[in-house]
């Protein structure tokens, strides 16, 4: 069943000197990001100060150890964890993955489980440069010596409107599984694999592309098979075969919006959208409004729009 965490409860838990429940983790370490987007500023550039880890050891399990040790490290005024967030092959050392540790604030449910959700990457996880095997030209990434790609790029420009967002100052080109962002002068700014392209069932996960390992909550909520890894990237949750690294399914679409207790509901949540099965429990009233997003129901104050609780929807 659901678990409700009023903000007062969350604060009490955060202020408690020692809460073993926080360290239980269940692999669900991600919560409200204390610095919104701050841990993601250099994403896409292969940067970050995370430690390096070899091979597939622990791949996709970054959250499993997340909560452990927090009882010692946690500061008194908030619940923090050191979380593994990004996994990527280091292009300088192709046999290595780069994992970045970020500090996250965690809000808890009454049974001590952290509330976890994904965060849409700033800049969509854009990777600088060109994909392996393609050379950077003024107008994009081209196989060396193959100008015919230019003609293809022109055709690809036609669908720029599908990826352009409000006030977007860039142009987009899609070709062979990858989306390229270029400025208005035509210079390449970066690339990323996209849903339906390189991120499709049957394709191998692009080794340079970052993802956020999915915590157990999402597997439970969406009822996903346990024999797959689940990875969040650019607004979608993917099932990946842990042995072959092949994408087995697109498991869910997610907004990746970072909603935390204490912050105001962002734009785009005006309409009541709680799942039908929970409408009796979470109906808008004079004291509380409820909005669904990415597997959780958020309770907010109708007057201030501040989020006061995060509700899990496990049945």
């Amino acid at each position: 069943m659901y678990k409700l965490v009023p903000i007062t409860t969350a604060l009490v838990l955060a202020l408690a000197a020692a809460q073993p429940a926080l360290a239980q983790g269940h692999g669900n370490g991600k919560g409200g990001d204390k610095h919104e987007g701050g841990g993601h500023q250099d994403r896409g550039n292969g940067g970050g100060n995370g430690h390096q880890d070899r091979g597939d050891q622990g791949r996709g399990n970054g959250h499993e150890n997340r909560g452990q040790g927090n009882g010692q490290d946690r500061r008194a005024d908030r619940a923090d964890v050191r979380a593994l967030e990004v996994v990527r092959v280091d292009p300088r050392h192709m046999d290595r993955e780069v994992r970045r540790e970020v500090e996250r604030q965690v809000f808890q449910t009454r049974d001590g489980r952290p509330v976890v959700y994904f965060q849409r990457e700033r800049d969509r996880g854009l990777i600088a440069g060109c994909p392996p095997g393609l050379a950077k030209k003024n107008n994009g990434c081209l196989p060396p010596g193959q100008a015919r790609q230019i003609a293809r790029a022109v055709e690809a420009d036609r669908y720029d409107w599908l990826w352009r967002t409000r006030d977007d100052a860039y142009n987009y080109r899609y070709d062979s599984g990858y989306l390229y962002r270029v400025d208005r002068q035509g210079s390449l700014l970066g690339w990323l694999p996209v849903l339906g392209g390189a991120l499709s069932p049957g394709s191998a996960w692009p080794s340079q592309f970052a993802y956020q390992p999915a915590p157990e909550y999402y597997s439970s909520y969406f009822g996903l098979p346990s024999n797959q890894q689940y990875r969040y990237a650019d607004g979608a949750l993917y099932g990946v075969d842990p042995q072959t690294q092949m994408i087995s399914q697109v498991a869910a679409l997610l907004t990746g919006q970072n909603l935390s207790v204490g912050q105001a509901l962002p734009s785009g949540y005006d309409v009541y959208n709680v799942p039908y099965a929970y409408r009796d429990q979470y109906a808008d009233n004079a004291n509380a409004m409820y909005r669904y997003n990415d597997g959780y129901v958020y309770q907010a104050d109708p007057k201030t729009q501040l989020i006061t609780a995060v509700i899990q929807l496990l049945t």
Binding site: R120, D157, R158, Y159, D160, W161, L162, W163, R164, T165, R166, N171, Y172, Y174, G177, L179, V182, R184, Q185, G186, V194, L195, G196, G197, S200, P201, Y221, F222, G223, G235, Q249, V250, A251, A252, L253, L254, T255, G256, P266, S267, G268, Y269, D270, V271, Y272, N273, V274, P275, Y276, R279, D280, Y282, A283, D284, N285, Y290, R291, Y292, N293, D294
Partner: protein, 186 residues
């Protein structure tokens, strides 16, 4: 089109002694959903043949058959104009997926919910964020609900909504992304 809400709301109104006129968002408008998923609902409706083809081509049929919930603003066949290209073509999987994401929002949105939000806000509009990280803006034009996409694409909610087991299908008469808003000259 099948009208789940039309027949389902009638017994609700009869049984609810308080009457449907007093409902607030998220209260009595929660009619019993169908036992069909969004994907099955779209397949059953002949007016969404193109959308179904795009959905299958982009391999997102399983997502809309999964738990969700999602609300899909479903363009009719006529909404796929020539300028949008053939988004159901084998070579257009990524483009089709991008288009679909701009038509899907999290959660279950009934028209009563949308109208309630429009009326509640002082601006006469209400916004929802899509799975493409864009915003849809809802407004009223007479009795119709208009939805406007980020790049100015404009559609009307048409026909009847279908409340599926994992969300809602809201038919629209145009795409919510506008092909005419192509890239500015480089």
């Amino acid at each position: 089109m099948r009208t789940m809400m039309r027949w389902a709301l009638a017994p609700v109104c009869v049984l609810a002694l308080a009457g449907c006129g007093e409902q607030k968002a998220g209260e009595a408008n929660a009619a019993a959903p169908s036992n069909r998923t969004i994907t099955a609902t779209l397949k059953d409706d002949r007016s969404f043949g193109t959308l179904e083809r795009v959905l299958d081509n982009a391999a997102l049929g399983d997502v809309l058959a999964g738990k969700g919930p999602y609300t899909v603003f479903a363009p009719s066949d006529a909404a796929f104009t020539a300028s949008a290209g053939d988004l159901g073509d084998e070579a257009m999987k990524a483009q089709g997926a991008a288009m679909l994401r701009a038509h899907i929002v999290p959660g279950a949105l009934t028209r009563a919910d949308i109208l309630s939000a429009i009326n509640r806000g002082g601006s006469g509009t209400a916004e929802m964020r899509t799975m493409a990280n864009s915003l849809l803006t809802f407004s009223k034009e007479g009795d119709a609900i208009i939805v406007t996409g980020d790049n100015g694409a404009r559609a009307k909610l048409t026909g009847d909504e279908s409340v599926a087991s994992n969300g809602v299908v809201q038919p629209v008469d145009a795409l919510l992304v506008k092909p005419a808003a192509a890239a500015p000259a480089a």
